[in-house]
């Protein structure tokens, strides 16, 4: 009886592990850095309305995120470093624009 229960438990655990392994990466990996990434890079559409201080903060967050993404597996690294590069570069670009604007006043 106990062996049957044990086998059933092992079966359930194996099935759960298989399910986790087969789920798409985007669905299973809700690591905290992903929420941080979304929060940081979802402001690109508003970049021109952000202040110099806000842009500097976002750039600091991008630098921290880069360190974390660099430790991820190859596919995640490839996708998210590219996405991070796009948003970080835009913030840097807008920051430079804003600083120039301030200097010319």
């Amino acid at each position: 009886m106990t062996t049957a229960v044990g086998k059933a438990k092992t079966g359930i655990v194996t099935a759960l592990l298989l399910l986790v392994a087969l789920l798409p990466a985007t669905a299973r990996s809700e690591e905290p850095w992903r929420a941080g990434f979304e929060q940081t890079c979802s402001k690109t559409g508003d970049a021109m309305t952000l202040s110099v201080a806000e842009l500097n903060t976002l750039l600091e967050k991008c630098a921290a995120l880069q360190k974390i993404i660099e430790t991820q597996e190859e596919s995640v690294r490839k996708v998210y470093l590219k996405r991070l590069q796009l948003c970080r570069n835009l913030y840097g670009y807008v920051l430079e624009y804003k600083k120039n604007e301030q200097a010319s006043k």
């Binding site: 990466a25 985007t26 690109t44 021109m48 190859e74 596919s75 490839k78 996405r83 796009l86």
Partner: protein
């Protein structure tokens, strides 16, 4: 002697012209315009290269979904997509995963680590062994319903969207961010360098609706101050600046009036 020299010169000049014409890039047919051959790892895996049709994806999604949210590069073969990436739900696999739907139709699954003879039929949907007449026919059927344009693939995509023939999706579940409403920068004019040629009217609104901001700035357009960067048509035809998209996927730069649109003296 002079005659011999003249004949030699004409022959030399003629052969030069013929050589130049022979090496000139072949103008793609409407259904081929914007097609990209992706061949980083396919052949090593014993598969034909991927023949990617931009029009087929462009009719459903904005540029930024693929080139920002999913992370595809802007030049062919720059992304180095592997079957394993697709299998994990990245790049093509972000949509082609067998579960994502587009207007309630399931999108076929992309790469798998192992495949049967039956699965192989699915593989060759993208890893095209040879030209597929069905793909060509599908394009011309689609073209019939679209507003026409003289150049490129013969479709005026801008009018198609404005007129409601296309309703582009700007979001892929589990990949795209929830976006706030975008603050669109204004249009501006760029002075033409050629006497009599109308100035360029650049519309930020038209470009940002499909591309967002980060696709162009600063990677393609690095200049901060308006007018500081001087663009030449040679650079553009060499694939820089506007030439990153125009000529390859967006309407060709030989369609001068689409950009040089400001009335002279206006």
């Amino acid at each position: 002697m002079k005659r011999i020299m003249l004949v030699c010169l004409i022959l030399l000049g003629g052969s030069g012209v013929l050589w130049a014409a022979g090496t000139k890039k072949k103008k793609p047919l409407p259904h081929e315009f914007g097609s990209v051959t992706i061949s980083n790892y396919s052949q090593q895996a014993g598969m034909p290269p991927v023949l990617f049709d931009h029009w087929l994806h462009r009719k459903n999604y904005t540029c930024r979904v693929c080139h920002v949210d999913i992370g595809f590069g802007m030049t062919a073969n720059s992304t180095k997509i592997r079957a394993a990436d697709n299998g994990k739900g990245y790049f093509c696999g972000a949509c082609h995963n067998g579960s994502t739907t587009f207007r309630k139709v399931k999108i076929f699954e992309s790469c798998a680590a192992t495949y049967t003879r039956d699965d192989y039929k699915r593989c060759v949907k993208c890893h095209a062994v040879e030209k597929d007449p069905a793909r060509e026919e599908a394009f011309y059927r689609f073209l019939e319903k679209m507003p026409r344009e003289t150049f490129g693939n013969g479709i005026n995509w801008e009018k198609a969207e404005e007129g409601g023939s296309l309703k582009l999706v700007d979001n892929v579940d589990g990949v795209s961010f929830k976006k706030s409403s975008m603050k669109v920068e204004g249009n501006f004019a760029l002075k033409s360098k050629v006497e009599g040629m109308p100035d360029i009217i650049f519309s930020h609104a038209k470009h940002t609706v499909w591309n967002g901001c980060e696709l162009c700035h600063p990677d393609i357009f690095v200049g901060i101050k308006k007018g500081a960067t001087k663009y030449t048509m040679i650079e553009l035809f060499n694939g820089q600046y506007c030439g990153v998209c125009h000529d390859k996927v967006a309407f060709p730069q030989t369609d001068c009036k689409r950009c040089h649109a400001k009335p002279v003296g206006g």
